[in-house]
Amino acid sequence: MMKNIAMKLARTKKGLSQAELADLVGVTRQTIGLIETGKYNPSIRLCIEICENLDVTLNDLFWEESNHG
């Protein structure tokens, strides 16, 4: 799995730490870290939750250009 750099950028742009974002979406800091490093695939429900809290769309964070051209 590829690293989710877009998510890390969106999070830092919003001025949130991993722990703060984790609290907002109801998961642990470790889970946010694993998503950003590409080591955990979140459910669609969690993806939506993260996007809503970072004011971005699903495409912005979770669309992989390399797989879909």
């Binding site: 109801g26 998961v27 642990t28 470790q30 889970t31 694993l34 955990y40 979140p42 459910s43 429900r45 969690l46």
Partner: protein, 150 residues
Amino acid sequence: MDERIEGEQRRITSSGFWVVLSILSISLIIQVNVLKADFSQYAVELFTIIFMLVYVGLGYIIKGIEWDPKLALANPIVFSFIVGIGVTLLNAMTNYSRYTKVYEQKGLSLYLVVLALTFGFAFIVALILSISFKCLMKWRQKKIEQELDQ
């Protein structure tokens, strides 16, 4: 709750289930074949193993989870053959140690007949059970499809 943690907990618990089942099975085999225990001594392990397997089997049927048809074990004939061999091997050890004197007097042909009958019986019982399980699974899949089509 964090979905990832929930998933990890489920994975750990599932592994724990299989570890306990394996330990109980080994304990049962040792008690029957090595220690020659009475039924009353291993009855609890036996019924626990049966309960665990029935619980998992029913769970699969209720949730409509089928075995991958590409798996050899999903074939009732292959499954029954393996069960037959397993039961025969276990019986071979117990039976010979219990009736060594009889077989020494009557010859090994009697022993082979006993093993053949054991295999045949175990194969037939396993075949009936696995075909019944498959039929139940097919019926459940049909019900799920009907529910989805409504």
